[in-house]
């Protein structure tokens, strides 16, 4: 059963078409990685799917209850502590006790320590900030999560740690998700399915299912899959092309 369906999405900025006839279907509890060369419209598609941008044409059908977005930047409120930043995702009507429990659970899920919760964003490192952003998304009790290249600015070890958090809490039947990345290893590591967006935004070029479940794959298998995709699979030929038509 699908939880998010994008049909025939098209969008244009100032008359220039950036997305055309994109159709994508994401199943219940499925995590889909969307890859494509820089500037092909991945982020725009995500913003449209998350309701932040109104598409020129096409239809979006959502059957999940709530969604949340983890952006490329942490986007934390600088005047609020990590605790309050996470808490802002919660419904207003929760009691103080429930609120505390929810924040605590979300922070624990994102491997944030209790003492960090009383710090302001300026006092947190880059990884901590992004973890707070993930905790905020998890606290919102969203049943669908969008990720817009969230770990690009992090170093490889930290990135792997964050990917594990995503694998643990998204997909595997709990929540569905759409994850944008330009890192093929990341895509292969966390997703059930990798979808390639056409380099000019003209629809989806194709998709590949990855064997095994995310979390069960070992580094060797991930490495070999990525090598196979990049060297032998024509679908991925343009993924690493550089075409900075526009930012985002």
């Amino acid at each position: 059963m699908s939880t998010l369906t994008l049909s025939d999405i098209g969008h244009a900025f100032l008359g220039r078409t950036v997305l055309d006839q994109v159709t994508l279907d994401i199943g219940d509890g499925e995590l889909v990685a969307l890859v494509g060369p820089s500037g092909c419209g991945k982020s725009t598609l995500l913003h449209i799917a998350a309701g932040l941008v109104e598409p020129r044409h096409g239809r979006i059908n959502r059957t999940y209850g709530r969604h949340a977005v983890v952006f490329q930047e942490p986007r934390l409120l600088p005047w609020a502590t990590a605790r309050k930043n996470i808490g802002m995702a919660l419904p207003e009507k929760l009691s103080v006790r429930d609120r505390h429990d929810h924040i605590f659970a979300a922070a624990a899920a994102a491997a944030l320590e209790d003492e960090d919760l009383d710090k302001y964003p300026v006092q947190l490192s880059g990884g901590m900030k992004q973890r707070t952003a993930i905790a905020r998304a998890l606290a919102s009790e969203a049943d669908f999560l969008f990720f817009d290249e969230p770990f690009t600015a992090l170093d490889p070890a930290l990135r792997r740690h964050m990917q594990d958090i995503v694998i643990r809490h998204v997909g595997s039947g709990k929540r569905g998700g759409l994850f944008i990345t330009h890192d093929m290893a990341e895509a292969v590591r966390i997703a059930h399915r990798v979808v390639v967006l056409d380099r000019r935004g003209n629809g989806i070029s194709g998709e590949r299912y990855i064997s095994l479940m995310p979390g069960e794959r070992d580094e060797r298998m991930i490495f070999e899959t990525v090598q196979h995709f990049m060297k032998e699979d024509p679908l991925f030929r343009h993924v690493e092309d550089l075409d900075e038509r526009r930012a985002g």
């Binding site: 977005v69 952006f71 409120l77 802002m88 710090k119």
Partner: protein
């Protein structure tokens, strides 16, 4: 939530920073003393003499009445400009077209000399509190308006998107995301506006003969009593400082604990 210990430590730090303020004032007093010794008692009485004159003034109930009159006029002008300026600024900040239309009028308002306003207001309202309060309000309205408008117009739109993606409604986004960002900018402007309101009020009082510190100054001038004039200046500055450090700065530090956390140690204390 800020803990009690954190609050006490912040209050202590605030009080402690009074020492550096005192040190700065002492430097000023030293320069004053030098000038006094160079030009003599008639042109510039010494700081101690001025202080004595000010203390003598404070001994009289009528001086307190004058101080209170001027302060309340300046503060009501400031409050009026703060309320109107902030609301209008918010509107203009959200609508760039409106801001573009209003901008020339702000330039116009800033360009008209305050003295011209006082003349007009004296004709309209006579020589009473209304003239003084309105002069103070008009003097600080443009800067408050621009501060609020820029605070809104330069808000971080990425945070808006973030709040939208969490399903926050329009009102909640405004209150929780936009207003804190605006206040951030507005506060330093408000401090400036408060000073402007006091200055404008004293000037309007002097010119309109409307009582308060301004009129006391006018009396000192006609008596060529420099010590008394300086004492009144000292008192009006003290009134301003009392409002700023008793009201505005505590509110600001309450709202901007996060900013304090971001400061390097040497700047903090």
């Amino acid at each position: 939530m800020p803990s009690l210990a954190g609050r006490i430590s912040r209050t202590a730090q605030f009080l402690w920073s009074g020492w550096s303020g005192l040190a700065g004032l002492s430097v000023f007093a030293a320069l004053w003393q030098v000038a006094h010794e160079a030009y003599g008692n008639f042109i510039l009485p010494s700081p101690l003499e001025t202080l004595a004159a000010a203390t003598a003034l404070l001994g009289e109930a009528s001086s307190w009445q004058l101080l209170l009159t001027t302060s309340s006029r300046a503060l009501s002008g400031f409050a009026l400009a703060g309320a109107i300026g902030t609301m209008a600024g918010c509107l203009a900040g959200f609508h760039p077209a409106l801001l573009r239309l209003v901008q020339p009028q702000i330039t116009l308002m800033l360009g008209v000399p305050p003295i011209a306003w006082i003349v007009l207001l004296m004709i309209w309202f006579g020589t009473g509190s209304a003239t003084v309060t309105t002069t103070a309000a008009i003097a600080c309205l443009p800067i408050v308006f621009l501060g609020a408008a820029e605070g809104i117009a330069n808000r971080d739109r990425l945070l808006d998107d973030m709040a939208l993606s969490l399903g926050m409604g329009r009102v909640r986004r405004f209150v929780r995301i936009t207003v804190p960002q605006m206040l951030n900018r507005l506060f330093s402007i408000l401090i400036m506006a408060l000073g402007t309101a006091f200055k404008a009020a004293v000037m309007a009082e002097l010119l309109a003969n409307a009582g308060g510190i301004g009129e006391a100054l006018a009396v000192s001038r006609s008596n060529l009593d420099v010590a008394n004039a300086l004492a009144w200046i000292l008192l009006s500055v003290s009134a301003l400082l009392a409002v700023e450090y008793g009201l505005i700065q505590p509110t600001r530090s309450e709202l901007e604990v996060w900013r304090h956390a971001a400061r390097p140690w040497g700047v903090k204390r």
